[in-house]
């Protein structure tokens, strides 16, 4: 590792900067990767395992169909057109809060999640996790039936048996007030679930209750309590915020408001707007918020308190030598009243209190306070509950959801506590780690299978409509609670009993007027100065970007979604800074032995540019041992994916822990979708030379001084130098489809990738294949770093097929399997493709993806009958040996065209009537699709923007996709410091 490499401008990851002897050795070796276990060797075994499951399922589903009370329609309803999808408003609960969805359903089965533009938490977009909800619905690993366990042996049972064995006993305890009963539930804002929990507490007053979620908002609420003495929760709006200061807060991807905040921020990151916001981020790990910010400073999570102290002192007038703080102070002065401070949910309550106080002074109306919601019980209450379990005070325990055996603080030894309870029951979607330690497992319904409700952070209540009957013999939490209080109501009745709602509310996707009113919290109390940390080396637990707290671990799409900053798939890793790694002799992939007060764990290291020194960030949610065939299943000898960070998490140090790091000689292979291999000086130089023209960016001042700064072309490009006589004038098509991607808005979150995967039936390929570079994403997120390894900036670029007008792929295909449509789409004819892969070689953007194996059939789960239901029936499922790539959602174009033709208006398809899956899901409005024939369309305007440029335009391919250069809005106080990093264009 060469410190002089710090002068590097653009690079892809730390590997690029590395010049170690290992690296040279590896380069010298002819075949460094070694023969990997092929997909087929594993999948054959898994395939057989699943064959058994599929057979069982086939019989299960047939039973199900016999029982259904479906009446044949003698006359089809006018609204039911076979094969024509319908869209229903429903909700998705994540982290206790609800977000509104529009769920597309084909002939009675939901296939695609979209955001609900009416819903205040969605504004039309979703997270990547929500996009994968349909995959969860059809996950063949989902539990299908009640199970009972005796001495660890699982046997299928039925709900009736469960009712006789357990529910009857629970009801019987009503006489003595439910003594001996214990219930564990997750934090939620669902009105019906909260109502039923209260009803149960009323029925069983002596029962014990515990609310626990591994990632909760407790600190935020506790902070508000400290600051205002009122139990409340901050609700930040960024639409009018001129300055945003994120304190160890990845508000663009974490928490229930991430989508809304992305939308709001994107509106004021428009360089053509009246003003542009400025974002500061002080954070430990390099998050997408840090990458999106104008200024970022690496600060350890435990040093944020100290940082807030200095900031407070400077805001009070003290001089600060820290230019970063000085710049914030200057901006606060200029924009007081619209400066928003946000703080990561994992920060201690005291820091939240100070942030609340700062917001009271400077944020104006941009920060409001709402009643506390989704708060778990304290660690003290949790430990008391577990003590009650151990002492036998709880003899009958029912757990509604969650996975406490996996995700409880390690020092509570929850699995041992379970053995001290006479009867234990776990109601969950999967027969997971917790279920397997219980006496009973009750299979839970997916939220798309039953009526439910939920509230978003602003208290807005929305009703979740079911779109499909329960696929398996499952029951929802609310229905089971209703059974336990002997009401036996259906989920619809339960939700209707909680609140009344009209059909209009269902249609809109939320109950009008249900949002809470902001609370008057008053002026903040005076707060004691924050004590700074004495942590030598910190470990921060972070919910996984894709898997959350681990509940989504079995979603292959999410496992294979590259982390936005590390580009890591199928693993978590200890993220550590370059400098610290060097000091400790840690290499990329070195196995580290981490020891905290709670436990020990071996994890691989990932050298993360811009990470704070003497700190490790580790994602939760990996290392599942009983998640399913994707994420790990000990029973079937399927290894866990990643490493279980909960083993290190103790109740005293739930978010930030002191850690001892021991470097071992073992290495772990990490599968990333970029930077597969270490890079040499030549490759690095090549990148530095070309990246300024590939990902163009400038500052707001630069843009104002030279609006065409992004237009510069390489001097060897002779624009008139075309050998082709272009046939444009011969026949003008009705539409010419095009796209524009605004790099100023794109946060790099990767939601587009999952939306595309769901829309276009893209299979996952697995870790081995990712290592081979065979991932299939049609739209990928390229991420480049700029600046020094200590504190770089990052830029993201979503790249899909550019739909070149003179497409180089088309001319080289010997069988004409890829051709041009009259409307300018580069079409891929799967049936005709024989798989010469020449098109891929000739594609300068390398967006073409090849089915090296029969991924759709051979990978362990994809061939499953239930899993097939997740497919979009409008999109061909590709077989082995064919090439595939972005089709510009041609099925969506055609669907709208058919409708418009039926209405005799196919020349007048409205702008925005056709939305690409990626465009629809994008939380920051970065992608625009439309007709460039129409001068007034959004895409035409975007492509006419000064910042618009075409990727590799000098090749004369004439791409139909334009990129809009990224414009940063640096503080004048910091701009000099940064000027050396700013790329000169051209």
């Amino acid at each position: 590792m060469n410190p002089s490499a710090s002068t590097t401008r653009y690079w892809r990851s730390l590997n690029d900067l590395e010049q170690t002897s290992e690296f040279k050795e590896m380069m010298a070796k002819e075949f460094p990767e070694g023969a990997e276990e092929g997909i087929t060797t594993t999948s054959r075994r898994r395939f057989l395992q699943l064959m058994g499951a599929s057979v069982a399922l086939a019989s299960a589903t047939s039973c199900r169909f016999e029982k259904e009370n479906l009446l044949p329609q003698a006359n089809r309803k006018a609204s039911d057109v076979p094969g024509k999808p319908k869209s229903f408003a429903t909700i998705y609960n994540e982290g206790g809060f609800a977000t509104g969805l529009m769920l597309t359903s084909f002939d009675g089965h939901p296939t695609k999640v979209e955001g609900n533009p009416n819903h205040s938490a969605s504004l039309g977009a979703t997270t990547a996790i929500a996009q994968a909800a349909t995959l969860g619905l059809y996950d063949p690993d989902r539990s299908r039936e009640v199970a009972s366990y005796t001495d660890g042996n699982e046997s299928d049972s039925s709900l009736e048996e469960f009712k006789t064995a357990v529910v009857a006993k629970i009801i019987a305890t009503k006489a003595n007030g439910g003594a001996g009963l214990g219930f564990i539930a997750e934090t939620t804002a669902s009105p019906s679930e909260l109502r039923l929990r209260k009803a149960m507490q009323a029925s069983f007053p002596k029962s014990r209750w515990l609310t626990y979620s591994p990632v909760a908002n407790n600190n935020e609420v506790a902070g508000c309590n400290l600051a205002f003495g009122v139990s409340s929760r901050p609700y930040v709006s960024m639409a009018t915020a001129r300055v945003i200061v994120a304190l160890d807060d990845d508000f663009l991807s974490e928490g229930p408001s991430a989508v809304r905040l992305s939308k709001e921020v994107s509106t004021n990151r428009n360089p053509e707007g009246e003003w542009m916001s400025r974002i500061y981020s002080a954070e430990s790990n390099f998050s997408i918020t840090g990458g999106f910010a104008d200024h970022r400073k690496p600060v350890r999570s435990s040093d944020i308190a100290g940082f807030v102290n200095s900031l407070n002192e400077s805001l009070a007038g003290a001089h600060s030598d820290d230019k970063f703080i000085a710049a914030i102070v200057e901006d606060v002065k200029n924009f007081s009243g619209s400066v928003v401070f946000t703080c990561g949910a994992h920060q201690p309550a005291e820091v939240h209190a100070h942030v609340a106080a700062m917001n009271s002074k400077f944020a104006g109306d941009n920060v409001k306070y709402y009643p506390a919601a989704v708060v778990g019980d304290s660690m003290k209450a949790t430990s008391e509950f577990i003590a009650a379990m151990n002492s036998g005070k709880i003899s009958n325990l029912v757990m509604f959801g969650g996975n406490p055996v996996y995700d409880m603080p390690a020092n509570f030894k929850f699995a041992d506590a379970l053995t001290n309870v006479e009867t234990t029951t776990h109601v969950s979607l999967y027969r997971d780690e917790t279920s397997k330690k219980c006496d009973w497992h009750v299979a839970q319904s997916h939220s798309f299978e039953h009526w439910c409700d939920g509230a978003s952070p602003d208290g807005l209540v929305a009703i979740g409509q079911p779109l499909i009957n329960t696929i398996f013999n499952t029951i929802s939490h609310i229905e089971l609670m209703s059974v336990m209080i002997a009401e036996n109501a259906s989920s619809k009745d339960i939700v209707q009993a909680t609140q009344s709602f009209s059909n209009d509310d269902l249609h809109a996707g939320y109950i009008k007027g249900s949002a809470s009113r902001a609370m008057a919290v008053g002026a903040p109390k005076s707060l004691p100065k924050l004590s700074s940390s004495d942590n030598d080396f910190e470990l921060r637990f972070m919910p996984s970007f894709a898997l959350g707290d681990g509940r989504h671990a079995n979603m292959g799409w999410l496992q294979e979604l590259p982390d936005p900053m590390t580009k890591l798939t199928w693993d978590n890793a200890a993220l550590i800074s370059f400098k610290t790694a060097e000091a400790k002799g840690i290499k990329q992939g070195s196995m580290l032995k981490l020891t905290t007060a709670a436990g020990t764990l071996d994890v691989p290291a990932y050298l993360m540019p811009g990470h704070a020194d003497n700190a490790i960030t580790l994602a939760l949610g990996y290392g599942r041992t009983s998640a399913g065939h994707v994420a790990g299943l000990d029973d079937d000898e399927i290894n866990s994916v990643g490493f279980d960070a909960y083993k290190l998490r103790g109740s005293d140090e739930m978010n930030i822990a002191a850690v001892q790091v021991e470097v071992t000689s073992a290495m772990h292979i990490l599968a990333t979708t970029q930077d597969h291999f270490a890079i040499d000086a030549i490759g690095r130089k090549g990148m530095e030379d070309r990246l300024p023209s590939l990902v163009r960016e400038g500052t707001l001042d630069q843009y104002e001084a030279d609006p065409d700064f992004a237009k510069e072309a390489p001097d060897f490009w002779d624009k008139d130098d075309s050998l082709f006589i272009e046939r444009d004038g011969l026949k003008t098509p009705a539409h010419r489809w095009g796209m524009a991607i605004d790099l100023s808005s794109c946060t790099g979150c990767g939601t587009c990738t999952i939306a595309c995967q769901s829309e276009n039936n893209i299979p996952v390929v697995g870790k081995t294949e990712v290592l081979r570079g065979r991932e299939l994403a049609w739209i990928r997120m390229d991420r480049y770093f700029l600046g020094t390894a200590e504190n770089p900036t990052a830029i993201n670029q979503p790249v899909g097929c550019q739909h070149c007008e003179l497409a180089p792929c088309e001319s080289v295909c010997p069988v004409a399997a890829t051709t041009h449509s009259s409307e300018g789409l580069n079409d891929m004819v799967y049936n005709r493709c024989i798989g010469t892969r020449y098109c891929s070689n000739n594609c300068p953007y390398k967006v073409r993806r090849f089915n090296f194996f029969n991924y759709n059939e051979d990978t362990e789960l994809a061939g499953n009958e239930v899993m097939k239901m997740v497919h979009n029936p409008d999109v061909t499922v590709r077989s082995r040996g064919v090439m595939e790539k972005c089709s510009m959602c041609v099925q969506r174009i055609e669907r709208v065209r058919i409708d418009s033709r039926n209405e005799d208006r196919d020349l007048f398809i409205e702008d925005g009537e056709i939305q690409m899956a990626c465009e629809q899901a994008c939380p920051s409005n970065a992608i625009v699709f439309g007709d460039i024939e129409d001068e007034n369309s959004r895409v035409s305007k975007a492509q006419a923007n000064n910042r618009a440029y075409k990727l590799l335009a000098e090749l004369n391919n004439k791409p139909r996709v334009s990129y809009l250069a990224r414009v940063r809005n640096p503080s004048p106080l910091l701009v000099e410091e940064q000027s050396e990093d700013v790329v000169s264009h051209g």
Binding site: E30, F31, P32, E33, G38, T40, H676, F677, I679, D680, I682, G683, G686, M687, R690, L691, P714, D715, F716, E769, R772, G773, E775, D782, R783, Y784, Q797, V799, P808, S811, V812, P814, V815, A816, R832, C833, I834, G835, T836, R837, Y838, S840, N841, N842, P844, Y845, K846, R849, F850, N851, F852, F853, S879, R880, G881, V882, M883, L952, L955, N957
Partner: protein, 461 residues
């Protein structure tokens, strides 16, 4: 030729093309004797057995490939073409020397070709068989490979005539047919000799069938010579065309490192270079094993090493010119590709290529070395290796780091890649060993033509 009576230096008199005390009869005896011997030499069994085993490996690899998918190879994104295409170009290149020797040298009246032309034509055919196999098995859906042919079909679809891969289909199949025809026609008089000498009924039947009733009449010889000339004239442009077209696969594309106008002549020179190297690799052991030292003489070998040296320098010139053009074009992508090729992660492959192809043939400036069979044999192996690496360097190093750095990915072959390459040698040597055993390895009638007895007045007219 030897029009140099003015000098007395012995060296410039070419040695006789047939050495020893051979006459018409002894040549027939020598060549036909190999076929007529009750058992081939021990070495034949060893080589044939090994080749057959390797052929079995190839079969197994193809079955595995077809049943599983092209993912069994190391190909990835962005290196969508890996070893199979490298092997294809390698074998097509080898297949060049045969036609060059038989057709072009024939038209230029280079009599020394007679000793080796049968040999090298056979090598050509078998190399093209190996070459043709690779593009066929390398596609994702081999069961639809027939779509590349312009056959009438229910889909009413033509192949895409703009695609260089389609030109390849035509170029390679034409080359194969003409080479086969040319080789077979040359065989007819010799097959008739074998037929006439055959003692067993089976042999008489089969050699009789394939010798097409050849009697050796004057009229037949006349027709034969005319036809041979016509075919030679037809085959000559093919020598240039086939590898030019193969080079279009690369040159027509947009990829830096492939998109180069120098490719057609550069590929042809490289092909001749590798083809002659392979003729040497085969003929040096064969003349020993089958006792053909008097027919395939040191003069033949000397001449071939000179061709290798000349074409090796042409190839070296092309290497240099590629760098020059990359710099001269001012295109940063081109420039990067070549610097990356020579000094990037695949530098090892590049320098293997340069040392084998450009540096090593330089030792042929020395006559002593040109006539040292051990050295020549080893050098010919070097050239074969170097030329395989040339194709590897062109294909893989250009692809593995193309335009967008986010897609860059190192390519690593799998065991299936390696065994398939080995297996293709099995196919080649199996066919070649069968040829050695059952067909006349040297063109009997043509060699007799260059005996002094056939030209009582020598060349003095």
């Amino acid at each position: 030729m030897a029009n140099s009576a003015s000098t007395t230096h012995l060296d410039i008199f070419p040695e006789d093309l047939v050495q020893g005390t051979n006459d018409f009869h002894s040549i027939t005896e020598t060549v036909c004797g190999i076929i007529e011997a009750p058992k081939p030499p021990k070495a034949w069994y060893i080589i044939f057995g090994t080749a057959l085993a390797m052929l079995g490996v190839l079969g197994a690899m193809i079955v595995y490939l077809v049943t599983t998918g092209v993912g069994v190879w190391g190909n990835n994104q962005p290196v969508a073409w890996g070893w199979p295409i490298v092997n294809f170009v390698f074998w097509v290149g080898i297949g060049h020397a045969g036609t060059l020797i038989s057709a072009v040298l024939f038209l230029f009246r280079q009599d020394w070709r007679t000793g080796i032309n049968r040999f090298s034509e056979a090598m050509t055919i078998f190399a093209v068989v190996c070459a043709g196999m690779f593009p066929a098995i390398h596609v994702g859906r081999i069961w639809f490979i027939w779509w590349v042919f312009p056959l009438p079909n229910q889909m009413a679809m033509w192949p895409n005539f703009r695609s260089p891969l389609l030109w390849d289909v035509f170029a390679v199949s034409t080359y194969f047919s003409v080479s086969l025809l040319f080789w077979y026609m040359g065989l007819v008089p010799d097959l008739a000799s074998v037929r006439d000498r055959a003692v067993s009924k089976t042999k008489r039947f089969w050699y009789g069938l394939f010798s097409l009733g050849w009697t050796g009449s004057n009229r037949q010889w006349h027709r034969y010579e005319r036809a041979y000339l016509v075919l030679a004239a037809l085959a000559t442009p093919l020598v240039l065309s086939v590898h030019s077209v193969v080079s279009f696969d690369f040159a027509v594309s947009q990829l830096a490192g492939w998109h180069t106008t120098i490719f057609p002549p550069y590929f042809v020179a490289g092909a001749i270079f590798s083809g002659f190297a392979m003729v040497l690799t085969l003929s040096i052991p064969a003349r020993k094993i089958f006792g053909l030292e008097e027919l395939i003489t040191l003069r033949h070998i000397d001449n071939m090493t000179k061709v290798i040296m000349a074409t090796g320098m042409m190839v070296g010139y092309a290497y240099a010119m590629e760098f020059f053009m990359a710099w001269y074009s001012g295109n940063e992508y081109e420039g990067f590709t070549f610097i990356n090729r020579a000094f990037g992660p695949y530098a090892w492959a590049y320098w293997i290529m340069v040392s084998c192809n450009v540096l090593s043939p330089q030792i042929f400036w020395f006559k002593k070395i040109r006539r040292n069979l051990v050295v020549v044999f080893i050098m010919s192996l070097f050239v074969n290796v170097g030329m395989w690496f040339e194709r590897f360097v062109i294909t893989v190093t250009s692809l593995n780091r193309d335009f967008l750095p986010s897609s860059w990915h190192y390519f690593t072959p799998t065991w299936v890649d390696i065994l398939t390459l080995i297996g293709s040698f099995g196919l080649f040597f199996t066919l070649f060993m069968l040829f050695c055993r059952f067909l006349p390895q040297v063109a009997i009638s043509e060699v007799k033509n260059v005996l002094p007895q056939a030209h009582p007045h020598h060349d003095a007219h």
